[in-house]
Each structure stands twice: as structure tokens, then as C-alpha cells.
Assembly symmetry: C2
């Protein structure tokens, strides 16, 4: 009936893709809210949340199409900006956990999200992995890939995919 | 932080395929035990478990190869035996819940398990569906199909697949 060790839930979180929206993606906050409301509930001491944010190295390629890189410092600036954004994202979730009173840890990795998430599962052995999903149709999936489908197949722990609610889907469903 | 309504978890359970083993399948008990240990923990009042057993109408075709059906009563006997087995299976899980002190409901449906499970999800709107899985490789999956993969794709609620532990896999991994 529940060991003394808390259930460790790894939540993969991502930044919003919507420009000028400097926050967690809709699917990430949806996955987090669902986990708190339906799994953790009032039993905050029974769980520990682990937030993993994977940054794609050239994620901001589109934003930076018009940027001019003239010196090593320009690249350092980009890397600094990415770091600040990543930390800001994790701060959002850590603050939420602090308010609720649930233990948590958070960290950033760089690479292909689906591969890094599965590698981190192998490394830290969570009891459960929670991944948000945009809930795209098959046609859209071909172009954007889905991290959640890959994790369900390959992660070495149980996985829950939380689909975005229909009323939260932005105009372009690929946005998040 | 958890509404007053309990989180309703639908657990799809099946009978063991091992002859003379008149109990729940290894993957069903694994999925149940995991749900209690990792999700429900000590918060028994926060959850309600819903057990669904789907009976395949000709599931026992192999066992009955040598049977002779000579009268309508013979068919009634088979149906009666199926019913008794299904009830016995549900009794196992309901008794467990009773011991633990967690609310539950259980029922039997007939049909193709994967389709019936998804239809029941549409009907009763659980917060979460838990399905055990034998964790078969791609070659074995071709022949036996997997209920869990279908549910992950088609069920209209979050789904957790609990793979059977390696040390619980029977000699023939298709058995369960």
C-alpha cells in the first residue's frame, strides 16, 4: 500500500512555441495540472516531481534568420539567452510545486527531446513518465514528429501521455 | 490540488491463459499492484478503481476442440462456465480492494477486448485507463496483437501501459 519512498514522476516540459509567449507550452502545463489534480491530489508527501526540459540546440533557427553573427560573443549571447529561457521555464514549475508543497527537482539537457527523455529514464529510473501531447492528427504528425509516441514505445518505465484539451488548442494546432 | 471527487481509474483485467491456472493473468495483477503501490499509495479515499473484464466469445475454442455439443444445454453449460470464470476473476480484484479499503466497481463485457475497452472509456469517462501488457517483441506481436497499443492510440483518456516484469514472464512469453 505504498512504500515510504515517494513515487517519482518524471515530467518532460517544453517552452511554448508561440512567439512572444515566454512561458511553458500548453501541453506541458496541461500535463502538470493533470498530474497534480488526478494523481498527486492531496497526497503531496507521497510523490516527487522531476522536471526535465530538453533544449534543441537549433530550436531558435527560425527566430534567428535575420540575426547577424559577427563575433564569438554573438554566439555566447544566443547560448546565454537559451539558458535564461530554460531556467525561466523550470522556475515556473518549481514555483508551482513550492506553492503546492510537493518535493521536486528540475534540470535542463540538450539534444533530441525524445532520445534525451528516454536516456534520462534509463539513468534516473522514475516510477512514471508524464509527457504532454498536442494531440495532432496523422497528417500533422508526419511533419512535426511526436515525442510522446516515441517515449511510449521506448521509455523503460510506464508512460502517460496527456493530450491537450480541445478548448486549449491554438489556431495553428502545431503551435503549443 | 485534487477535487473532492475521487480519481476514477479503469483497469482492464484478463484471465490467465495458462491452463489449469484459474486466476487473473500475470499482466493484470501486475497492472493492479503497480496502480496501488505507485498511484493510490496510502490515499485510498482519493481513488476509485473500475475493473473491466472483456470475454472473447470463442476464447476457449482450443480447450473445447474435443468437446461434443449434443444439445442446447451443452451450449448453456459453456456459457455458464464462462460466466463463473469471469465472476471469479472480478471477485479476486474486488476482494483485494476490499482488503485495502479502496472503493471499486467491476463488470464483464463480451467482444473484442481492445474495441470494448475503448467503447467503455467513451461510456464511463474514467480519468485514467491502466492496461497490463505482456511486453512482447515485434515478432510475437504480429500474431497475438496487442490490446495495449490499440488503447494507447484510440482510448479517449490518458492510458498507462504496465509491462510485465521480466522475472514474471512465463516460459512461453505469449502466455500470461
Amino acid at each position: 500500500m505504498g512504500s515510504s519512498e515517494p513515487t517519482r514522476i518524471l515530467v518532460a516540459v517544453s517552452e511554448s512555441t508561440i512567439k512572444g509567449y515566454p512561458h511553458a507550452s500548453i501541453s506541458s502545463t496541461g500535463a502538470f495540472d493533470w498530474t497534480i489534480e488526478k494523481i498527486v491530489r492531496s497526497n503531496t508527501s507521497g510523490f516527487k516531481l522531476l522536471f526535465l526540459h530538453v533544449q534543441v540546440p537549433d530550436e531558435d533557427g527560425f527566430d534567428d534568420m535575420d540575426s547577424i553573427y559577427a563575433s564569438p560573443k554573438d554566439f555566447r549571447n544566443v547560448r546565454h539567452r537559451d539558458k535564461v529561457r530554460g531556467i525561466h521555464l523550470l522556475e515556473y514549475f518549481v514555483n508551482k510545486c513550492h506553492e503546492i508543497g510537493i518535493a521536486c527537482e528540475s534540470w535542463i539537457k540538450k539534444g533530441d527531446p525524445k532520445e534525451v527523455i528516454c536516456r534520462e529514464v534509463q539513468r534516473i529510473h522514475p516510477d512514471l513518465l508524464v509527457v504532454g501531447s498536442r494531440g495532432l492528427g496523422p497528417f500533422q504528425r508526419v511533419f512535426v514528429g511526436t515525442v510522446s509516441e516515441f517515449c511510449v514505445k521506448h521509455a523503460e518505465c510506464p508512460v502517460i501521455t496527456i493530450k491537450r484539451r480541445a478548448d486549449e488548442t491554438p489556431e495553428d494546432p502545431v503551435d503549443d
